[in-house]
Amino acid sequence: MSELAAQPAVAGQARAGEVVLAARGLVRGYRMGREQLAVLSGTDLELRRGESVAIMGRSGAGKSTLLHALGLLDRPERGSLAILGTETTKLRRGARAALRNRQIGFVFQFYHLIPELSALDNTLLPWRITLSPLQWFGQRRQLLVRGRELLAELGLGDRQRHRPSQLSGGERQRVALARALITSPSLLLCDEPTGNLDERTSEVIADLLFQVGARRQHTLVMVTHDRELAARASRCLLLSEGRLHAMDASQHP
């Protein structure tokens, strides 16, 4: 077992069949002037290890709000949210950040890479955030190997030193995917991961998402408008009026 693999996870790695995410009655709204706008009104969701779910819905339905809440970036007003059995709504900000760092990976529509960093440095950013300088320099060699292997696995073996501005949209999204996977999180949250890509590149990214997910047994939550992409998920849910409803992706307009 490598030293990295031996790193203690904040909430422990998920075992097969284990519930990775359990959301009950999530409520979140926003104030728009004098009006209170309810976005999530009692949303429930339970996901097990290796499961993938696509969340669809019209623009403004609250898909990103739900994703941010599931990713512990936002705190719901009511309801409970457990990640790997740890109830997160009462956790302090530091503990939520640590849980996010080790158990949750994000992939955004607009990649959100740090422009000053190379592909490899962007990939290793979550490790830099969690490790102290001493720990980093102690494990630097192993981490670099791991980052290079991951980028190579995603087809970026020869682009590791390139900065985001020197990469195509598809390559940037692959770097973002590598960054999301580098800490081997239990939960991968993708916000329209192919929304900014052409059809062919979208297919490549979708293949990677599901292939890598199948290999690593991540639990995947994906917000998308792309019915073909949604159809590849094990479950497809429609977010409407603040609640999730089961749906058939091929029938969604």
Partner: protein
């Protein structure tokens, strides 16, 4: 780990950061150069003000009867911090060339040149207690130097240029090299010193008889203080008493104090000792004598402090602007870092570290360039003057041959350190704002 790493990437990848570093560096550099030059001026000014004045001067208050010189000197020398004391007699006089007609004070310019302060001194005591030896040794042109520095008033008869005066048993005098060279006088020339004798003052209602005496110049001296040298003549103390017929044995006592002793304390103790010995006297340190000018010098330091505050304000404004701009440009990155697991404290520290990098590099740059420029300021001045044909530093105005510089490394490091600390403290404001940004809002930032 990411704080220092990303702060470095953010800072050194942006041209505006380098501009801020250069701006801070230039501010620190300018301040160090100004402080060094100002300190140089202050040191020169203090030296100028001090002139030939002793550490402490005792002015006996001889209202009823003259004090005994020996008593005065004994009381002064008994103080443990006094390393030497010598009595002087002082008298204003006018001088003229020997046998060149009467004194003509036809205009203010000539009158000024004719007036001198005559100091009656004991050469042996002066050599022990004052810088008299160096005044004699510092004469540049040998033709004006005394023949024997241990007995400066001695002059062989053969050196007296006017042969008719050689056997007149005339007393000798020392005139400054500046006066002798400008007036065309040489060693062995005779001058006449004219003053009002003490007795004349007691003749109520009667005409005052000036006391006139011919002196032969035994040589010159050079104190380096032009104002002093152009109006001072030294003669032997006993000759002084005979010349003006005074009963007084001491007009003032020049006191040399041991290195490091507190002048004010010694002054007060001397004053008390003289009072106890029934020799009441005014006692002044050299700083007391020039307290108005020295106050002005100190005021310069206060002005410098105000200038420093303005520089600090400038540096803080620059750093604050650059860091605020950086935070504004990096709002989305703050959201990304939060999504990766960065805490608010970590994000704030990241931007504070950017400020530390900018301020530290700028401060070091300013400290090094400022010190180098201060060290070579006269070379730079010469280069500018020769390149542009202009006079940057007017020697006639300041009475210095070159720009005076006094580099205080501790003070310079203090200036740079205070600037860096000020810049870092002001950086905490935008860093705090960055830390307070909502992660979701930051991710949605356009």
């Amino acid at each position: 780990m990411y704080r220092f790493y990303l702060a470095g990437r953010y800072t050194f990848a942006r041209p505006v950061s380098y501009l801020a570093m250069v701006a801070i560096g230039l501010a620190v550099m300018a301040l160090i150069v100004v402080v060094s030059i100002m300190n140089g001026f202050l040191a020169e000014t203090r030296s100028f003000l001090r002139g030939t004045t002793a550490d402490i001067v005792v002015f006996p208050i001889q209202v009823r009867s003259p004090y005994s010189r020996e008593s005065l000197e004994r009381v002064v020398r008994e103080h443990p911090d006094v390393r030497g004391a010598c009595a002087r007699l002082v008298r204003p006089a006018v001088w003229k060339w020997h046998e060149r007609g009467s004194i003509v004070l036809g205009n203010s310019r000539d009158a000024t040149h004719m007036q001198v302060i005559v100091l009656g001194v004991d050469a042996t005591a002066e050599l022990e207690a004052t810088k008299f030896a160096s005044y004699l040794a510092d004469v540049r042109d040998p033709q004006y130097a005394v023949l024997d520095q241990h007995d400066p008033f001695a002059l062989p008869l053969s050196e007296i240029r006017n042969a008719t005066l050689r056997y007149a048993d005339l007393p000798t005098a020392l005139m400054s090299e500046v006066m002798m060279s400008s007036l065309g006088l040489e060693r062995g020339d005779a001058i006449e010193l004219v003053t009002v004798p003490d007795q004349a003052l007691e003749l109520d209602g009667k005409a005052v008889n000036p006391a006139s005496q011919t002196f032969v110049l035994a040589g010159g001296f050079n104190t380096g203080h032009y104002n002093h040298d152009q109006a001072t003549v030294f003669i032997d103390r006993d000759e002084f008493r005979r010349w003006c017929g005074t009963q007084h044995e001491a007009s003032e006592i020049y006191v040399a104090v041991r290195e490091g002793a507190d002048l004010n304390r010694v002054r007060d103790e001397l004053r008390a000792s003289l009072d106890d010995a029934k020799l009441p006297s005014d006692v002044e340190t050299w700083e007391d004598r020039h307290h108005i000018w020295l106050g002005a010098v100190e005021n310069e330091r206060n002005i410098l402090f105000v200038i420093f505050l303005f520089f600090l304000l400038l540096v803080c404004t620059i750093t604050f602007s650059v860091l605020t701009m950086m935070v504004q440009q990096k709002v989305r990155d703050i959201g990304i870092l939060s999504a990766m697991g960065a805490t608010a404290t970590g994000t704030g520290t990241l931007f504070a570290t950017c400020g530390i990098y900018i301020a530290t590099v700028g401060g070091l740059f300013g400290l090094i360039t400022g010190t180098l420029l201060a060290l070579r300021i006269n070379d730079v001045k010469d280069a500018i003057e020769s390149a542009f044909g202009i006079e940057v530093f007017q020697k006639e105005v300041y009475a210095f041959t070159e720009i005076p510089v006094s580099i205080d490394h501790l003070l310079d490091v203090g200036i740079a350190a205070t600037t860096v600390v000020g810049a870092v403290l002001i950086c905490l404001i935008p860093a705090f704002r960055a830390a307070r940004l909502d992660a979701v809002e930051a991710l949605r930032h356009e």
